[in-house]
Amino acid sequence: MTAILETAPAFDAEREAQKARTVGRINKAGRFLSALGLGWTTPLMLAAAGDSPKAQLREAGRLVGVPLAAILAFLLLWAQLAPMVETSLGAVPGPAQVWEQAVNLHEDHVRERGKEAAFMERQEERNAKLVEAGRADDVKWREYTGKPTYYDQIWTSIQTVFFGFLVATIIAAPIGILCGLSPTANAAFNPMIQIFKPVSPLAWLPIVTMVVSAVYVTNDGLFSKSFLNSAITVTLCSLWPTLINTALGVASIDKDLVNVGRVLKLGTWTKITKLVLPSALPLIFTGMRLSLGVGWMVLIAAEMLAQNPGLGKFVWDEFQNGSSQSLAKIMVAVFTIGIIGFLLDRLMYAIQAAFTYSANR
């Protein structure tokens, strides 16, 4: 009897300690998750673990419930208003039609892959025939030449934007560091930065096309000309945020740190890698995040004109089709572009959170 009564409080204490440990772990994971944009799961997990459930559920309601309700309200409003607007391509599509077209695009993709499989089979048969006829050196293996499906186009767009963005970062970061460290360099570069910054991608595109045509003369190289045209246009428009933010970040490092560097007689390279870069990183990453955002927007416009087979070309071709499904397909593209842009931004934010030192770490 006494044994049971005695162990009860100890059991409770054990449970309390365990709960405290779980809560601690959830909170730690929570910091990591919020960097990935999944911070709304933390209150739910805490509520499940029993840590002041009412307060946590209210928190979860704010983080998850309210946005969901807002999205639902938006969908309902859209479904109501859309059929009221008649265009020459039919009524503006509501959420149902847009979903239908999204499904259509997926089915198109599946059908195209089926055609590709059939093509590969035919190719195998053909080559087998050649081998049988003793013409083994006439055997050719060729890629399928069908149209790029929606998923292929999304992937092309992502590749193009990353290529353009990387080139922009490689150009902008060193110049930004130089401008930040040396007021003379800043004065030299500043006028050009200010003049070229506001130029729209559509104005750059013809010039880029001409230059690429003249300089990149092969048509069988690693990159196609349309890919280069789009990627370089993205570079030209997205290098400014990185450049300006890097310059600002470098220029505003703590004067004490600069003095320490002087006292220790640090070489320029060491100064840059050990002092300047780490303290300027938050602003550099902010700049990169902005650049990627701008680059993604610019890419869609650039692709429409440069004919790079990505999302921009998809929107343009659908507009040219003028079929009754075109508007809905274009809206699917709009949502895709938005969602991918959001994911890219989240990715950059996560990388930024990983690299920067803040009071929490």
Partner: protein, 454 residues
Amino acid sequence: MKLLTKLAAVALVGLTAGAASADMLDVEKDELKFGFIKLTDMAPLAIAYEQGYFEDEGLFVTLEPQANWKVLLDRVIDGQLDGAHMLAGQPLAATIGFGTEAHVITPFSMDLNGNGVTVSNAVWDAMKPHIPMADGKPVHPISAAALKPVVQQYRAEGKPFNMGMVFPVSTHNYELRYWLAAGGLKPGYYSPENVTGQIDADVLLSVTPPPQMPATMEAGTIYGYCVGEPWNQQAVFKGIGVPVITDYEIWKNNPEKVFGLTAEFAEQYPNTTLALTKALIRAAIWLDENDNANRPEAVKILARSEYVGADAEVIANSMTGTFEYEKGDKRAVPDFNVFFRYFATYPYYSDAVWYLTQMRRWGQIAEQKPDAWYDAVAKKVYRPDIYLKAAEMLVAEGKAEKADFPWDTDGYRAPQDEFIDGVAYDGRQPNAYLEAFPIGLKGAQKVVGGRVDG
């Protein structure tokens, strides 16, 4: 299991080996990219791909829709595209240096007819009182003389009368101008300094890409346009305009699109050029086979979003032999699109010369040229030698009939007079032809400043 099936396939196939592969040309370049604009007459390209005719010749072709005619031409000249669906005037203009200069040739004419002129509802209502009626329906062909009072009224009100066409050297530009001039309206001249084509014009013509035409007309920027299908029927379907005339009625069986490649490509890859011409001829034969029996299937293929993409009902009309003018006024036009009949695919020099005469008529060719010049340019750009070689091969393979090809022609059709204004055209005498028109440059006339001189 998979290996077993493969071995079985090889064994089965091995029994029938040899014969088919022996016919294939030894193509130098087998991975090709062709461009096109979303119009129903890109059909030979789509059919050659979908029916496997390209694959039969050992070619692996990617078909890519282009943003507009200028981008398409530039990419062919640049080498990004190996060949493309082109306006009949593009290879000629490029070779003589009007616009981007490059030696572009064509071994294959893609189709005859296929265009229409559409006007907005408001303009149609204003035209109707001037159009002769029979049985309550307008008498066709409708002359631009019915449009003349409407244009005069608009100009009196201070509104410039704008119309759209697809490209400065497009068949649509020349056909629209021909129709306007035949009705007594001046469509404007070009000069070396001013290439807008609106010098001294009653009707101002400007460029709009085909798919944007219905939207531009709806917006009121243009009051009418000349374009290929499906954009005329699209206007009827959407209730935003009325087609008044088809180019079949302006010039019966006029040449429309050609397949263009750079001269460089044809020189470097002669076998490839022959192979692609063979595939295209087969596609054209299929399209016109058995009195257009395959057209409904062609419509289904063209309605796919990677080809023309418009709704199938809109494409079906013109491809299957009817054309809807006013809503509800459907008339039979069995030859609205001709892909192979009447030797449609043979690249006649006289067709090239007609386009050159129209370029001269409106000032794109600024100075008078002797008849021999027209002949020389036509021979440089149009390549019936490649066409006939490809046709020979097809006849030998049993894929085409000997009677379907004009083996004995010298490249010039017999004089034609089935034009809306009745002026006869003899390709061997371009300058005499130009003299016959009341409106248009003739002889040694030039456009200087804002007027015609001489």
